[in-house]
Symmetry: D3
Subunit: 140 residues, 6 copies
Amino acid sequence: MSHSARYERGLAKFGEMYGDLAKTFLASLEDIAPDLGIYVMEFAFGDIHCRPGLSLPSREIATVAALTAIGTAGPQLRAHIDGALNVGCTEQEVVEVIMQMALYAGFPAALNGMQIARDVFQERSHKKIQKKQVGRRNKK
Amino acid sequence: MSHSARYERGLAKFGEMYGDLAKTFLASLEDIAPDLGIYVMEFAFGDIHCRPGLSLPSREIATVAALTAIGTAGPQLRAHIDGALNVGCTEQEVVEVIMQMALYAGFPAALNGMQIARDVFQERSHKKIQKKQVGRRNKK
Amino acid sequence: MSHSARYERGLAKFGEMYGDLAKTFLASLEDIAPDLGIYVMEFAFGDIHCRPGLSLPSREIATVAALTAIGTAGPQLRAHIDGALNVGCTEQEVVEVIMQMALYAGFPAALNGMQIARDVFQERSHKKIQKKQVGRRNKK
Amino acid sequence: MSHSARYERGLAKFGEMYGDLAKTFLASLEDIAPDLGIYVMEFAFGDIHCRPGLSLPSREIATVAALTAIGTAGPQLRAHIDGALNVGCTEQEVVEVIMQMALYAGFPAALNGMQIARDVFQERSHKKIQKKQVGRRNKK
Amino acid sequence: MSHSARYERGLAKFGEMYGDLAKTFLASLEDIAPDLGIYVMEFAFGDIHCRPGLSLPSREIATVAALTAIGTAGPQLRAHIDGALNVGCTEQEVVEVIMQMALYAGFPAALNGMQIARDVFQERSHKKIQKKQVGRRNKK
Amino acid sequence: MSHSARYERGLAKFGEMYGDLAKTFLASLEDIAPDLGIYVMEFAFGDIHCRPGLSLPSREIATVAALTAIGTAGPQLRAHIDGALNVGCTEQEVVEVIMQMALYAGFPAALNGMQIARDVFQERSHKKIQKKQVGRRNKK
């Protein structure tokens, strides 16, 4: 079934960007608007994010820029900063993109975006430390 | 003078991105708010656009994304699409960035951004043809 | 007094849409800007929401759409989703309006609006269950 | 081919709403981003606008509300006011929706939306008169 | 009639700010939504702009700031820059307010607002010159 | 060093507006984007807020208006309401500016801004009471 093909392609792309968070995301819509979750997988990740012509890191730079500038999409900005780092953007690049938004959307947009980036960076750093500790323990 | 240093650095960066349009830009503010033009050169181009940590093409991808998403900055979007192409982004990359904004800011934002890109592409194509024709004539 | 007439008409319309929440709403402004509460009753509910030419459910569909698209009015979106259901819109209609905003304001707007709808639906469902339980107890 | 099925369904829905304007719309994207036109037909009109659970007139009321409130989508607001009238909304309903946006997005949003509605109403009225005149001439 | 009292008070305040433009403004809504014009006079000018507690020049500074920052209200920004000058703000103050918006809404908002200010200043300057010339001619 | 001159000037202006909060503000950016803090001091406070031609209270009225209207800058609105009161605006003026935004950005913007103002007023009032109590205790 072709519907399923787009969905599966989107799910794979989502996985490439966010690891195993698809279940959590889809579950948050399951009891109210499961079709919206399907459209996100099919159209946002299956159609748009799979297009050639722009690298995935560049797509994430564009997304972090747009969401910082818009200023109304906190949870999505958080997710895409994480996604940007997962597909190869550096923390410095994320910081630079957000800082540059001071020019186009004003300082409050940049400052609020930066606090979200800070949270994401800290969370990732905690996870890394925990993984290392688990790794050490398992070696013993 | 250090003020001048930032200004000069910004002017050079502006030139790298937009050729000799600085005069036109600064002139548009000269009789009303010349300081705003100075701040654009000093802060926007001299401080932010000269920062390391993010390539100039990536900075332009972020800017085209943000201005398309915001939807209130037509003249600036036009200028930055031109700037993006001048610093090495391809037309296809610009198209992809704008198209992707349908996801984050809705289809109208993407459609209106695309019409601006179309105008810029056509203008550049006309200029190229004219240059070629002038080139041929000069060879004769 | 005519001022009072518009206010009273607004208060009645507010009551039709939100039950007895007017006191809570007006109290939240009483110590800082009571006139803003008066204007909301007079102008928003007494003038606009009482106009003929558009049914109340359609007015609420328009409001839920606009507040979801704008994305900066969480508490008001919450209230108007509740109001929409109170004046005869179905939960499915509310879900469809919010989902459709993905087209015009982007997926983040739709996703964030949907989480607010979800909260409102759950709260209403809890209240219904509580009422039933109280009803049963009272019968005993 | 299933892609074609969504596209064809969207094209039919687009036709139901806007008559034979699909060609003009798709042509405006053909030389720059034809895929964006395809996504509009597939996703916006084929997926979302074909969903059950909300009548087409209510969908257009939601869209006119959102586009008026956002204020950055002039050409799309124009098209959807026309679409709203084509699927059975009255001019009065459109006027009421736009007027109500004064409450949620401010008077400038309502005033600017109203001028667009005025243009659309006048254009439709001119077309009707022309049709009648052509009709009379043909009868002679 | 009290409705009329608010309307008349608003009309007088509108006149204080914009001279004899009320007719033009009301006429632009007469054939489509005359009530919206009435609400503007009653609520915007009769209720809000007549409130004590903030001087009229400060109200106009707030309005020019907000409309520049929002970026979707060109015609209204134009009118309120004119109004600000009519109630005693200086051109320099208007320029400073708009320039400051670069901080809060980004440089494009400030740049686009400044071009509108420039148009208004030039128009007023032309009118002054014309008046002087008419004055001279009448003296002859 | 001239860089330092702008920074120091900005820091002094910041102090004039917010007392000793500069450290807290700069610390919030220190581990992620210290340069953004520097730009805020240099450009926002050292360049723009130090300009002549508009009084500091008027600058704060413009800022409170813009941030209320934009609706995406909660923490900054909170800070600037506090700043407005520190440089001589009255609570009533702040309330009037925010209320007036109902006209230009809609009632939700005004209502949400007013709740932030309410929090700031209460916090300041608590601090005053505490200071008085400390003063009394110290006298004993």
